[in-house]
């Protein structure tokens, strides 16, 4: 199980977009404003040393130098890769350092948003760096933008609306009585059971769509 998760993760990583494109997106990285700038342009930070300053159990480093399209190394022994962990790209972005081909991955538990606020201050990075969760790297504009639901799921949601609301004059009568209930009571109560069915269909459509776009974008983890 764990092995398969790991393998999947690595396949996904291999499909990452080109380095240059990634770099372009970092200009608007969420945390870029909080990173202290420094005048040491070509200094590649000793990342291993920096990582060792992390005490928190929810951040652990995977150091990896080289081409970002290659498979990152295994995480340190004893650290599990779970679905709540995802890599962060750590890239020097000042114009001079742009040629440095170095991308490092941190894995951070997604569930603790507080990590984002202390990460830059803990990483006392000598080069001007940006930190971006890898799953956002493909977005050029990082403003929040809601995904619209698919047409199919909206149509499925309209079924209960039509049945329990708009068609009221068709079903609002006493006869025929079903299971001892007047027809209007019976109709609405049965839609309490049928509405979850429709919405389950919509849920199925939405999750299928989500996993499709997941694959298309080369893994958003």
């Amino acid at each position: 199980m764990l092995e398969s998760v790991r393998r999947k993760r690595h396949q996904v990583c291999r499909k990452k977009p080109q380095h240059s494109r990634v770099r372009g997106a970092f200009g608007v990285g969420i945390l870029s404003a909080a990173v202290p700038s420094c005048s040491l342009p070509l200094a590649v930070p000793s990342l291993q040393a920096l990582y060792s300053s992390f005490q928190s159990s929810d951040v652990f480093p995977v150091t990896w130098r080289g081409d970002p399209r290659h498979t990152p190394p295994e995480p340190p022994a004893g650290r599990e890769v779970t679905d709540h962990c995802f890599p962060i790209l750590l890239v020097p972005t000042s114009p001079v350092t742009a040629s440095i081909r170095q991308v490092d991955y941190l894995r951070v538990r997604r569930q603790s948003p507080s990590v984002w606020s202390y990460l830059p201050s803990r990483l006392n990075c000598p080069a001007k760096c940006c930190y971006t969760p890898a799953h956002m790297e493909h977005r050029d504009d990082q403003r929040f933008c809601a995904k619209r639901p698919s047409l199919g799921s909206i149509l499925l949601g309209l079924i209960p609306f039509t049945a329990a609301c708009f068609s009221v004059s068709l079903w609002d009568r006493v006869h025929p009585m079903v299971l001892g209930l007047p027809f209007n009571f019976f109709w609405l109560i049965s839609w309490l059971l049928l509405t979850p069915l429709c919405m389950w269909g919509a849920y199925w459509l939405e999750t299928r769509r989500a996993s499709k776009s997941h694959r298309k974008e080369g893994g958003t983890l």
Binding site: C165, V168, N184, F185, I189, L192, T195, M199, Y203
Partner: protein, 496 residues
């Protein structure tokens, strides 16, 4: 033991158990503002489900569902109509709201308007309208609790001390445990209430009529026309049904407390799955209707329809069972009330007071202010519940029509970049004004339609029109957390 002593003991035992769970819920955690308001965003599906359901089963549904079935007849069906459709609406909105909530670390409804429209005046307006709508709702819970305890204890506890004691407890566990305490009391309450409702709803028709079918036949014979709309009323027909169901289904998750509850979930997917299964939870609601309808034949001529369920239980079952119902009823008032207090306090401190009056407050100070506000709001609502309870229902209806006016701002704001701040502000002011004017001048329903629904239509029209006129291209959510000074976290962890 006398019947009242038995009932009294059980009511106090259940309330005490509930309070114990409430205080325990947050006792192991350090309570910062994030934990207090949104439970650290870590609630799983079951807890979110119970929390949200806990907010739906308020005293209004507990007493009101059977009460409306008793006094109005078929129009009561709107309750099951709109609740199941509100979940359908939530399926499309809440997961995206949660995404935005996690990204910008939103805690309240006002925060959402702040990151989307970047105007502290719009945010303050939303917070103000939300708070004004919450207070009568809270007052209704308090009064309902007074009625339940008074009837269930055979008049042994007068409603005023019952209200004061239980709301002191509520304020206490909101103060110490925040939303976590509330969620765990909700678990206890739902278990008790579910079994009580199923038992009463099934037993009452069987005891008096020998089954649900014969009961409906008897009701149809006693009151012809009661079982189809407009029932015992003259103006609650089909047009009213459609407009009210639409208004309530759209407005439901615009209540600041429901809106805020979505941020407690662990993931957007939790909320989506929740929306799929939630309608099943309303299955106990028709049972409340049955009790009200049975009371129509068994106990005709009650002055207050809202008492029909409690009077039926008192007539049919032994005192200890009335005690259980009374205890469950008291918790039913306490859980939603706790959430209402929590929401109103955080709206006031975070979205109204800090941005407008004291921009330099830190998060810790906001937390303190919110906790003081908890006490103030509880006292205000208690006071008005004790001294004035005449206009409650009309105030609540205005409240529903009021919060529904947030809907265009939320939905259009979420899905369209072309919606502008001026558009939403203008639409919301128009909608709130129309709703208040029509309802306070007793024009509800107007032309067979729900007045709040008409206000909502105008709201949509004005929002769309003004947005088109004022759209300049630079719009949408804030680029990141730091660009919105009103929301920036001011705790110690942030690098300087």
């Amino acid at each position: 033991m006398s019947p009242s002593a038995v009932a009294l003991t059980l009511i106090s035992a259940i309330v005490a158990a509930g309070s114990f769970v409430g205080f325990l819920g947050g006792s192991h955690r350090k309570m910062d503002l994030e934990q207090w308001i949104v439970g650290g965003r870590g609630f799983g599906m079951l807890l979110v489900w119970l929390l949200m359901a806990g907010e739906i089963y308020t005293t209004f549904t507990f007493l009101g569902a059977s009460g409306w079935a008793y006094s109005k007849g078929a129009p009561v069906l709107y309750i099951i109509g709109y609740t199941s459709l509100a979940y359908v609406v939530s399926f499309y909105i809440l997961p995206e709201l949660w995404e935005a909530g996690g990204r910008y670390r939103l805690q309240t409804q006002g925060d959402f308007f702040q990151v989307r429209y970047n105007s502290k005046y719009l945010t303050a307006f939303v917070a103000l309208v939300g708070m004004i709508c919450i207070i009568p709702y809270l007052q209704l819970q308090i009064t309902g609790l007074g009625i339940i305890v008074e009837v269930a204890s055979f008049g042994a506890i007068h409603r005023t001390p019952a209200m004061v004691i239980s709301f002191a407890i509520v304020a206490g566990f909101v103060f110490t445990s925040g939303i976590r305490g509330v969620a765990w009391v909700s678990v206890l309450k739902d278990v008790v209430l579910f079994f009580a409702a199923v038992f009463v709803g099934v037993a009452v028709p069987y005891i008096y009529f020998g089954g649900i079918g014969p009961m409906f036949v008897a009701v149809g014979r006693a009151k012809p026309g009661h079982l189809v709309m407009p029932g015992a009323t003259t103006n609650l027909g089909h047009a009213w049904y459609i407009s009210t169901v639409l208004l309530c289904a759209f407005g439901f998750y615009m209540w600041p407390q429901f809106f805020g509850a979505s941020f407690t979930a662990k993931s957007g997917d939790t909320l989506r799955r929740n929306a799929v299964v939630m309608p099943l939870y309303i299955i106990t609601m028709p049972l409340m209707f049955f009790v009200g309808l049975a009371a129509l034949v068994v106990l005709p001529g009650l002055a207050n329809g809202d008492l029909s369920m409690l009077m039926m239980v008192r007539k049919t079952f032994p005192p200890w069972f009335l005690g259980v119902i009374g205890g469950a009823g008291a918790l039913t008032a306490m859980v939603p009330a706790a959430i209402l207090i929590l929401t109103a306090a955080s709206l006031f401190a975070k979205n109204l007071c800090r941005p407008i009056l004291a921009p330099s407050m830190t998060d810790q100070q906001v937390g303190k202010l919110a906790k003081i506000t908890v006490v103030a709001i509880t006292c205000a609502a208690l006071g008005s519940a004790i001294f004035n309870s005449t206009t409650l229902v009309s105030l609540l209806l205005v409240g529903y029509a009021g919060v529904a006016q947030f809907f265009p701002g939320v939905v259009l704001g979420l899905y369209s970049k072309r919606t502008t701040m001026s558009g939403v502000f203008a639409g919301m002011v128009t909608g709130v004004l129309i709703a208040v004017l029509l309802m306070l001048s007793k024009h509800d329903p107007i032309m067979g339609l729900n007045a709040g629904f008409i206000a909502l239509c105008f709201n949509f029209a004005v929002t769309g029109l003004v947005s088109l006129l004022t759209y300049t291209g630079e719009n949408g959510f804030a680029p990141d957390l730091t660009s919105s000074p009103a929301l920036r976290s001011r705790d110690n962890r942030e690098p300087t």
